[in-house]
Amino acid sequence: MSWMPTLVVGARRETSEARTLELAITGWPGHVAGQHVDVRLTAEDGYTAVRSYSIASSAGSRRLEITVDRLDDGEVSPHLVDTLEPGHRIEIRGPAGGWFVWRPTEPVPQRPLQLIGGGSGIVPLMSMIRTHAEASSATPFRLLYSVRTPELALFRDELVRLERDDAHLDVTWAFTRVSPAGFPTPPARLDRSSSVAAVFAPELGAVTYVCGASPFVESVTGWLVDAGHLADDIRTERYGG
């Protein structure tokens, strides 16, 4: 897999902390929902820095969009969120990853998909949700999305719209610091009982994808296994130390 010259063709701010970059690569082979790419930046003196970012766009669109959350002490993400502009070039390697992925034709026989995202862990799950909607997939999808405040929620309007329009998508929001006006429950961190209550029951045999910061993924997967979900049916992707 080699580095491909990539043109930034668009940039959309998602939140105060995150931006989506639309990228164009000659000969881009397309991706599977859930995959990531490596991004390489090169400084004037030839120094390079590489980080991995999940693809946010649907597989069917064949478009390549990454949504990047700024890490305050990050080396690459501040540049991608605040500095890079359409017309600039970066380098991309990918798409990569064959595990934390979903294709509309899978699994066979059909099983529900439980998606659980914390913060920017929503990004690869969003690619799956967009792919699901565009393919009019009948696979039951349920998303549990934990985020600090409504303003920091990625793709909030789109998720509300997709939940309304996609008959096979159900979204549960967990606001941990601030709830939106009129939200039925006060803000609270996900805990054992609220997590277990928000997902498909174990007997439905869902395949579960969990993505987020490492402590979030560790807690949630532990609660699900304790509640009778099979560890073999849980796929995880983590970031941070």
Binding site: M1, D38, L41, T48, R51, R89, E91, G98, T236
Partner: protein, 197 residues
């Protein structure tokens, strides 16, 4: 490529000197795993070495702790580009585990609680290059970092250092483990930047 990333300066260069290509230094200890964290109890835990002819050596947790252990200080390199320098471990050398084992195998499949597997050339596990580690930084290895015992093969990308290790199967021919079936390189040498297949 032509040109550079306007406005990108990057971190102080000294931090990246001596690192394998494409790596950066982290002070934290990120966790990567494909699923839920397995938690085998010490009473159930065992480690086996199985040769290509089916001969099995087996250690219970208490037997394993009786084996001579070594302190290891090494740099580790994750395929997701972070490197952690000067990490401190305690573990049993794979040379010790295979001492006296009659084999003509050239490869090993490491097997973990939870079903994870990774394949390695036997030569990458022998000669003082690999350990089964039970301590990190002077403390028992945390479950999310692979405790009670993980493989430690610091000269390869860290996915080869299988967490929650329970078996080493010696094989005559190479076969693909979990990440190797999912797009990652068969050997994974950071100096050669063998990330993807």
């Amino acid at each position: 490529m032509e040109g550079f990333s306007p406005g990108f300066t990057g971190r102080p260069r000294a931090q990246s000197q001596g690192l394998p290509p494409g790596q950066y230094v982290t002070e934290s200890f990120p966790v990567l795993s494909a699923g839920a964290t397995p938690r085998p109890s010490p009473t159930d835990w065992e480690l086996t070495v199985r040769t290509e002819t089916g001969t099995v050596s087996r250690w219970s947790w208490s037997e394993f702790l009786e084996l001579p252990a070594e302190h290891v200080t090494c740099d580790i390199h994750c395929v997701t580009s972070w490197s952690k320098l000067g990490t401190s471990w305690r573990g049993v050398s794979v040379d010790t585990l295979l001492d006296g084992t009659d084999t003509s195998a050239g490869f090993v499949m490491a097997r973990s609680y939870g079903g994870y597997t990774t394949n390695l050339p036997l030569g990458d596990l022998l000669g003082g290059k690999a350990w089964v580690a039970t301590e990190f930084d002077g403390r028992p290895l945390e479950p999310e970092h692979g405790g009670p015992a993980r493989l430690l093969v610091p000269h390869l990308y860290f996915w080869k250092s299988a967490k929650w290790l329970t078996g080493l199967d010696l094989l005559v021919s190479d076969s693909q483990g979990f990440w190797e079936r999912n797009g990652y390189h068969r050997r994974g040498d950071p100096l050669l930047e063998q990330r993807y297949s």
